[in-house]
Structures are given as structure tokens and as C-alpha cells.
């Protein structure tokens, strides 16, 4: 258990000394996960709204399917995307395998169900009375929808943070699609996995602490922004 303390000290050391490799890996992790969550959000929040505001046959089934995919294993996503973007796969010509873009694709697919499902949940959580009040007080449907989205903002941001967390903490897809190439596709989780394999347990733990630190900073910033508006 002594390792935990050493790891904490080393994590602080790595951050304070601005260790170039650790900074680079951390920034890459942040960049890849942020890109994934942004792209996924662009699709999923409107998709969630579409499903929520529209009554259609089989809506429950669609929601059930989406919720089932919450448990999509990261390695399965990795393998699936791998077969598509491998040079001998259908999108091989794009030369995407073993690049950061490949990791982003995998992570987007991974977090899409969570984000869509959470967006539906967020909108459902808004009191029906708000919508009715808005409409009865003469708001157009666009205005009513905006009012509902606004009321749901806390839950939506919660969903974004959850999606970001799933992206930055997953290792299966990042390893299989990025290849853990030093200086190019190595992110915090794959670095932790490699250093653990090498028996550098303290360094691994330190990187883990840095990862948690990044997640904390992101969540705090999101919440501060949220409270402003």
C-alpha cells in the first residue's frame, strides 16, 4: 500500500515538473476525449430531442435498444471499427487505423448510446407543466422546445460529463484502434496499461491520478459554466 503514497508524490512531481511526455499524453487524452464528446453531442442531443418530442410506434423499443448499448464493451467497439478501417477493410483507403482519428471514431460510437439515452432522460425529467405553461401562454413550439431544453440543461451537462468520463477512461478501443504508438496515439489509459505491464506500478498509479485530476477539472469547469447561465 506504500505504492499509493509514492504514486501521489510522483503524480504531483510529474505535474509540477511539467514532464514533457506526461503533459503530451495528458493533452492528447483530453483532446481526443473532448473531440469525441463534441462530435457525439452534435448527433446525440438532437437525436435524443427527436425521440423525446416525437411520439411514434416502437418508441419504447428504440429507447430499450439505446439503453442496452450502454453496456457496449469497449473492445468490441474497437474490434468492430478495426475491421472497417483496417487497410483491407471497406474504409482502408482513408488510412485511419493507428491514428488519433481512429480512437475518436471508436469513442464516438462508444458514447453515442449513453449520450442519446441520457438526453432523452434529461428531457423527460422536465416537468410536463413547464411545457404546457409555455404553450398555453402563447409560446411557439420552437420557444416551448427551447424552454424545455433550458430546463433540462443540468441533466444534459451531466450526460456530457458522463460521456466524457466514459471516453477518457476507456482503454480497449484506444489500444486496438490507436495502437498505443508513442508520441502519436498513446493516451493516459494506454500508457497506464503499458506501464503496468512493464511493472512500473507507481508510475501507472501516478498517471491514473492525473487522469482523475483531468476529469475533475473538466467537471468543475462545466459546472461553473452551468451556474453562470
Amino acid at each position: 500500500m506504500q505504492e499509493l503514497w509514492q504514486a501521489l508524490v510522483q503524480a504531483v512531481n510529474l505535474i509540477v515538473s511539467l514532464d514533457p511526455e506526461v503533459i503530451e499524453i495528458s493533452l492528447r487524452s483530453l483532446y481526443i476525449s473532448a473531440a469525441s464528446i463534441l462530435i457525439a453531442a452534435l448527433f446525440c442531443i438532437p437525436m435524443g430531442a427527436l425521440i423525446h418530442f416525437h411520439d411514434f410506434k416502437g418508441k419504447r423499443v428504440v429507447i430499450n435498444v439505446i439503453q442496452t448499448f450502454y453496456s457496449l464493451p469497449t473492445v468490441v467497439v474497437g474490434l468492430f471499427v478495426f475491421l472497417f478501417i483496417s487497410r483491407s477493410g471497406p474504409f482502408g483507403g482513408l488510412e485511419l487505423l493507428f491514428t488519433p482519428a481512429a480512437i475518436i471514431i471508436g469513442q464516438v460510437i462508444l458514447i453515442m448510446p449513453v449520450l442519446t439515452g441520457m438526453a432523452i432522460g434529461a428531457l423527460s425529467g422536465v416537468d410536463k407543466a413547464i411545457r404546457d405553461t409555455a404553450i398555453s401562454s402563447g409560446a411557439s413550439s420552437t420557444q416551448a422546445m427551447r424552454a424545455i431544453l433550458f430546463e433540462a440543461r443540468f441533466a444534459v451537462v451531466g450526460a456530457l460529463i458522463l460521456g466524457f468520463g466514459r471516453a477518457i477512461s476507456e482503454v480497449g478501443a484506444a489500444l486496438m484502434l490507436g495502437g498505443n504508438i508513442r508520441g502519436y496515439t498513446r493516451v493516459l489509459t494506454t500508457a497506464i496499461s503499458l506501464e503496468t505491464q512493464r511493472g512500473e506500478l507507481v508510475l501507472s498509479l501516478a498517471l491514473g491520478i492525473i487522469l482523475i485530476g483531468i476529469a475533475m477539472v473538466v467537471s468543475v469547469i462545466m459546472n461553473i459554466l452551468l451556474q453562470r447561465y
Binding site: 493533452l27 452534435l42 448527433f43 430531442a49 427527436l50 416525437h54 483491407s88 488510412e95 491514428t99 511493472g199
Partner: protein
């Protein structure tokens, strides 16, 4: 009235969705689309379009991808050699860490341009099937059998095949005392292990199914050594990884002599005529010749001396490899074209 509202809300959200889809496509598309796929597949045209998408990329530097056996990575040798090659060939060298089995699969799919592996039989098949060309050897070391210092199966000093037989019998008799960690990942080391079981007169399938003493880890060399250390198990390891992990693991070398223990590291290019997507043959050839060059051979001869008191790998240059099974002179001196 209500349905009308629902309909309008629906229409607005569809509009938003379409707008977002478009935006998303543009965003996602612009990065890779900026580099049109090199459709020609000419082996002579080095792949300049592989400079791919994202941070931190130096535009214009092609990326040359290789898959390498885990031992060369776990020992840190690649970290050391990588910048040397990048400077020499003016490419970004992307190293994917994979056991020989996985590396050959990446090669077949054309996902890498060259392979560094150590499984003579699998390599021969790979080449016979037309996937690999220009194979050369560039380094060698030996395997060893390590285990708990107490040596509960009593194998110290035996020939490897007899030792395996003894571990098998003792493990079957009492799996709490005697365990064996197998890589179990179709790596070169795993192939060597199967060869030794065969030499011991045992069928590999029987060994696999003979009980809990036989542990298939499915991990790289370093992780398996850590596992053997945790479980007090026997293990077949290459001496280089063993040395690099010596301070971290609690297993002792028990057998270091044996005809079957020779381990030769080979490099080869992916054949662009068979694997249409392999486009960097010229760079792969440069890479192969570079590994045989005095520069690299001398580096290999000294790598690890300061830290471990002896080199981790042996270069082939100078004819240091003299036992049966060593590569022929031409296999490590004649440059490829």
C-alpha cells in the same frame, strides 16, 4: 391542436438534426478528407498521405508503421532506436506492440509496413504464402526457464525438454506447488514453448488441458514475468526481457543451456504485390538495411551494458552466433533492394 404542436416540435428537431449531421460530417470529414487516399497503390510511391489527421502531427512527414515483438519493446530497445531511424529516413516511425501472431495478422491486413518478429516457422509460412518479403535477421538472444528460487519441481540444470516433463508431472500432481505461466498468445515465445513440449514427448493440447497448474496468460513477455513472480510459477522467457525485469520480479533463472533456446529476431517487409495496401516498400527496405548496418549493430552490442552489466541482445554482425540454427551469413549481411 396538440398534435400540431408536436408536429412542429418534431419538424424543428429534424431540422436541427440535419444541420448537426451536416456539421458533424464536415467536422469529421475535413481532417481525413484533406489527405486524399493514395489510390494508386504503386509500391514505388511512398505513402505521403499517411500523415493523417491529428495533433501532434508534423505535416508532410510520412508515417511508417511497424509491428514489433513485445520483448524488443519491454526492454526499451525500440525507445532507443526509434529516433535514430526517424532522423535517418525522415519519417515518423510508428511502433505497434504485438506478439508475433498478432504482428503477422496486422501484416496480412496491410495495417503495418514491416514486421519485427521471432518465430521462424510462422515466418516461413508467412513468406511462403506471399505476404512477407526481404526477410533478414538482425539480433539474437536465448531463452531461459525461470522459476521460484526454491525450485519445487527440481529442474535446475536439466535440459529444457526434460525440465518441461518434470514441471508437467509435478504440476499435475500438485498444482498448488508447481505452476507454469504460458504466454498463450501465439507469440514467438509461445511457439518456442510448444516446440519444447513437443520435444518433451507431450502433445500440446494435452498439456493445455491437463489442469490448473498450466496458466495461459495471454499477455506480453514482461507482464507474464510479473505474473510468474506473483504466483511463484515457472516460465519460459527470453533472457533480454528477463534481465530488464530482474529487479522487479522474484523468479530465478534455473536453466540457461539448451539446444532449443536460440532466439533469432528477424525483420521483413510486407509484399505490396500480395497485400495491395502496403505502400511503403522503399522505406521498409531502408529500415531492414538500417537494422543490419554497423550503426545499429553496434548499438545493440552495447545496449543495456551500463544498466545490466551485459548487452540485452546480441548483434549478428561479426558472426557471434555460431550454434546450430543460427542464420546464414547472407541473411544478416546482404542488403535488400
Amino acid at each position: 391542436m396538440k398534435s400540431l404542436v408536436v408536429y412542429r416540435v418534431h419538424r424543428v428537431s429534424i431540422t436541427i438534426l440535419i444541420a448537426c449531421l451536416l456539421l458533424g460530417t464536415i467536422l469529421a470529414g475535413c481532417a481525413p478528407a484533406a489527405t486524399p487516399p493514395a489510390a494508386t497503390g504503386q509500391p514505388s510511391a511512398d505513402n505521403k498521405s499517411a500523415q493523417a489527421t491529428a495533433f501532434p502531427v508534423i505535416p508532410g512527414t510520412p508515417r511508417f508503421k511497424i509491428a514489433t515483438t513485445t520483448s524488443l519493446y519491454d526492454t526499451g530497445l525500440w525507445n532507443y532506436l526509434e529516433p535514430m531511424f526517424e532522423k535517418k529516413a525522415n519519417v515518423k516511425l510508428d511502433i505497434v506492440y504485438a506478439g508475433t501472431g498478432a504482428a503477422l495478422e496486422y501484416g496480412k491486413r496491410g495495417d503495418v509496413d514491416a514486421l519485427v518478429v521471432h518465430d521462424p516457422e510462422a515466418e516461413a509460412k508467412f513468406i511462403a504464402d506471399g505476404y512477407g518479403i526481404n526477410r533478414r535477421s538482425f539480433a539474437f538472444n536465448h531463452f531461459l526457464i525461470a522459476g521460484p528460487a526454491g525450485d519445487p519441481a527440481g529442474i535446475k540444470g536439466l535440459p529444457p525438454e526434460q525440465a518441461f516433463k518434470k514441471i508437467y508431472e509435478a504440476g499435475k500432481a500438485d498444482p498448488t506447488k508447481v505452476k507454469f505461466i504460458s504466454r498463450g498468445d501465439n507469440s514467438g515465445t509461445h511457439s518456442k514453448e510448444k516446440l519444447i513440449w513437443q520435444a518433451a514427448g507431450l502433445k500440446y493440447e494435452d498439456v493445455q488441458k491437463s489442469g490448473p497448474w498450466y496458466v495461459e496468460a495471454g499477455k506480453g513477455m514482461g507482464p507474464c514475468l510479473l505474473m510468474a513472480s506473483e504466483q511463484g510459477a515457472y516460465i519460459l522467457a527470453d533472457i533480454s526481457t528477463f534481465l530488464a525485469y530482474k529487479g522487479k520480479v522474484n523468479v530465478a533463472p534455473l536453466i540457461e543451456q539448451g539446444d532449443l533456446f536460440l532466439n533469432v529476431y528477424d525483420v521483413m517487409a510486407i509484399n505490396p504485390e500480395k497485400v495491395k495496401t502496403a505502400k511503403m516498400l522503399p522505406t521498409a527496405n531502408t529500415f531492414i538495411n538500417w537494422l543490419m548496418s554497423d550503426d545499429v549493430q553496434n548499438t545493440i552490442a552495447t545496449y543495456g551494458v551500463a544498466e545490466y552489466g551485459r548487452p540485452l541482445f546480441n548483434p549478428l554482425k561479426g558472426g557471434g552466433c555460431t550454434e546450430p540454427g543460427c542464420p546464414k551469413l547472407a541473411d544478416y549481411t546482404v542488403p535488400v533492394k
